[in-house]
C-alpha cells in the first residue's frame, strides 16, 4: 500500500476493503523471480548490489528478492531496511511507526542500491528514500524495484523493475503483500 494511504489503514484506524484480487500468491512469486533476474541482468551479476526494503511494505519484498537472487547467483546480497519518515516532505501525514526499523547493513559508498517497495504511487516516498540513502554514503547507482506501479506520479521518478503495471483511480488503494495483490478502497473506521 502506498505510504499515503497507510495513515488511514490499520493500525491507525480505517479499513482496507478489497474489491478485486489482481495477483495471487504464485503470481507474486513469479513477478519477484523475474525482477530478480532483471536485477542480475542489468548489473551483470549482483556484486556490489545492496537491497533496501522500504518500511513497511517493501521489507518482505526485499527479503523475497534476496531469496531469489541467492537462488540465481548463489550469493545472498546484503539486505537492509529503511524508514524514510524523517525525510518525507509530508511529515505528519503518517505517524512515525515505532515498530519500523532502519538497518543498513554496510556503507553504501560505491554500491548499487536497489530500493524495493510494494506500491509506487506519487513517488514521494522514493524521493525521501533517495535523500535518506545519501546519509549512509554515496552509492554508485540507485535503482528502484516495485511490485506494483499504479501511476499518478507527482515527481519525476521512474522504476527500473516493475512487478506489474496497474492502472488505478486516484481514490483507489492497492494492497500488495507476498500473499497477493488486491485493489480496493480504504475506508475510515466505522464508515462501512
Amino acid at each position: 500500500m502506498a505510504e499515503r494511504e497507510r495513515r488511514n489503514s490499520p493500525p491507525f484506524g480505517g479499513v482496507f476493503i478489497a474489491r478485486t484480487q489482481v495477483l495471487d500468491f504464485n503470481d507474486v512469486r513469479r513477478a519477484v523471480w523475474r525482477m530478480a533476474n532483471e536485477v542480475v541482468e542489468a548489473n551483470q551479476g549482483i556484486e556490489d548490489v545492496v537491497l533496501i526494503g522500504l518500511q513497511t511494505g517493501g521489507v518482505p519484498f526485499a527479503d523475497e528478492m534476496a531469496n531469489a537472487l541467492e537462488k540465481i547467483d548463489g550469493v545472498r546480497p546484503p539486505t537492509g531496511t529503511l524508514d524514510v519518515a524523517f525525510h518525507r516532505d509530508d511529515i505528519g501525514l503518517r505517524p512515525v511507526l515505532q515498530s519500523t526499523v532502519t538497518a543498513i547493513p554496510c556503507d553504501l559508498t560505491g554500491k548499487v542500491v536497489v530500493l524495493v517497495d510494494d506500491v509506487l504511487f506519487t513517488g514521494r516516498t522514493i524521493r525521501a528514500a533517495l535523500d535518506a540513502v545519501h546519509t549512509y554514503g554515496r552509492p554508485r547507482a540507485v535503482q528502484l524495484a516495485v511490485m506494483i506501479d499504479r501511476g499518478h506520479r507527482e515527481l519525476p521518478i521512474r522504476p527500473d523493475y516493475v512487478g506489474k503495471n496497474l492502472p488505478t483511480r486516484r481514490d483507489e488503494a492497492v494492497n500488495a503483500t507476498l500473499d497477493g495483490v488486491e485493489i480496493g478502497e480504504v475506508h475510515k473506521e466505522g464508515r462501512w
Binding site: 476493503i17 495471487d24 524523517f86 501525514l93 515505532q98 549512509y136
Partner: protein
C-alpha cells in the same frame, strides 16, 4: 502533546512513545551523515536563565540534527541585564517567529508560565527544584538500553533529593514505568513532605546497595553547603558516596548513573565513574537522541493536513460508499478465474 513541562503530566503511553521515537533518532545518530530534514524551516530558541553545559549543547545538537534553526539567547548578554521582564523577553522572542522555546530557569514553574503566554511549544529544560523532564526521559532510555524493561526494577536515587529537580522527574518517570524507587539520603537532604511520592526511603546506602539494579547518584550541590545540611562533605562521602568498596557489594549487572556534573571524590569516587558499569557517558549520548525525539514530537507532526477527501472534490467522502463488508467476496475477476 503541545508542551513538555513535567514528567508528572505524562502518561505511560506518552513516555513509551517518546522512548520509541528515541530509538529511531539514536539510529540517525549512527549514520554517516547524522542529520535528517524532519524539522527543516522550524526555529527553536533557547531561554536559559541558568548555566548549563550538557543540556544546552545537547538540545543544540538535537535541533541541528533535525535541521531546525536555532536562536541563541543568553541572559548575561541580553536586554534582561537592562531589566527587561521575563514576559517581555519571551514575547519578543516569539514575535521573531520561533516554533519552540526551551526554557531553563532558577524558579520553579517558569516554563509553565511561559507556556501560558506563547503559542510556541515550550520545553522545560529544568526549572528550579521542580522538574527536568528530558533528563528523566534520557535516564529511562539509558536504563532500558542497558537492562531492558524497567518493570519491577529496583532503583535508588542517592543524595540531595530536596534540591534536585532531576530526582523529582526521575521519581515520576521511573515509577510510571513500573520501577521500585528508593530515596537514599540523610534526613536533612530529603524534601520535608514525601506524601504521595511513590517511593521508599532509606538513610543507609550500604543496606540497600546489594539489591539494586541501578544506583542513581545526584550531585552534592556544594553551593548549598552554607546551609549546613550535612556536617561536612567528607562525612557525606563516608556515608553516602559511591566508593570503590561500595561498588564491590553491588550486583554484577547493576548500573551506576549520574546526571552530571560529577563531583569526583564526593558523591562518586574518581575511579568509579570510569567503570564499565557506569552509564554516565551513555546518558549524555542518549540525551541528544531523547531531545531529538521531544523536539520532533512537539514540532514534527507539522500542520495537520486535512484528509484528502476534505480537500479533493470527488474524494471517497463525497460519494456514497458502496455497501461492502470485509467478508463479501471479491466482485471482480480474481487471478484463478
Amino acid at each position: 502533546m503541545k508542551h513538555l513541562l513535567a514528567v508528572a503530566d505524562l502518561t505511560r503511553d506518552e513516555v513509551d512513545h517518546l522512548l520509541g521515537l528515541t530509538d529511531a533518532f539514536a539510529e540517525v545518530g549512527r549514520r554517516r551523515v547524522p542529520k535528517v530534514p524532519a524539522l527543516q524551516g522550524r526555529t527553536v530558541s533557547w531561554l536559559f536563565y541558568e548555566d548549563s553545559t550538557r543540556t544546552r549543547l545537547s538540545f543544540e545538537q538535537a535541533a541541528k540534527r533535525l535541521s531546525a534553526d536555532t536562536l541563541n539567547f543568553s541572559v548575561s548578554s541580553s536586554s534582561v541585564s537592562k531589566g527587561e521582564s521575563l514576559r517581555d523577553t519571551v514575547q519578543t522572542i516569539e514575535a521573531m517567529g520561533v516554533d519552540a522555546i526551551v526554557v531553563r530557569h532558577t524558579s520553579s514553574g517558569v516554563p509553565a508560565q511561559v507556556a501560558r503566554w506563547v503559542d510556541a511549544a515550550v520545553v522545560n529544560a529544568g526549572d528550579g527544584w521542580h522538574e527536568h523532564p528530558t533528563q528523566a526521559l534520557l535516564d529511562c532510555y539509558t536504563i532500558r538500553a542497558h537492562l531492558g524493561d524497567l518493570e519491577g526494577m529496583r532503583i535508588a536515587i542517592v543524595g540531595d533529593i530536596a534540591h534536585s529537580r532531576v530526582a523529582r522527574s526521575d521519581v515520576w518517570a521511573f515509577s510510571l514505568l513500573g520501577a521500585e524507587v528508593t530515596l537514599v539520603a540523610p534526613p536533612t537532604l530529603l524534601p520535608p513532605n514525601l506524601d504521595g511520592w511513590p517511593v521508599r526511603v532509606s538513610h543507609d546506602l550500604d543496606a540497600v546497595l546489594g539489591d539494586l539494579d541501578v544506583v542513581y547518584l545526584l550531585r552534592m550541590q556544594r553551593e548549598r553547603m552554607t546551609e549546613a545540611l550535612v556536617p561536612s562533605l567528607r562525612e557525606y562521602t563516608a556515608r553516602y558516596g559511591l566508593t570503590a568498596r561500595r561498588v564491590d557489594t553491588m550486583g554484577d549487572k547493576s548500573l551506576v548513573m549520574h546526571p552530571g556534573p560529577m563531583n569526583r571524590g564526593v558523591e562518586i569516587a574518581a575511579d568509579v565513574a570510569e567503570l564499565p558499569r557506569s552509564a554516565v557517558i551513555d546518558q549524555v549520548r542518549n540525551g541528544v537522541a531523547v531531545r531529538m525525539a521531544v523536539l520532533f514530537e512537539l514540532l514534527g507532526s507539522g500542520p495537520v493536513v486535512p484528509p484528502r477527501s476534505a480537500t479533493t472534490p470527488g474524494g471517497p467522502a463525497d460519494r456514497p460508499l458502496p455497501v461492502l463488508t470485509p467478508s463479501s467476496p471479491p466482485a471482480g475477476p480474481s487471478a484463478d478465474q
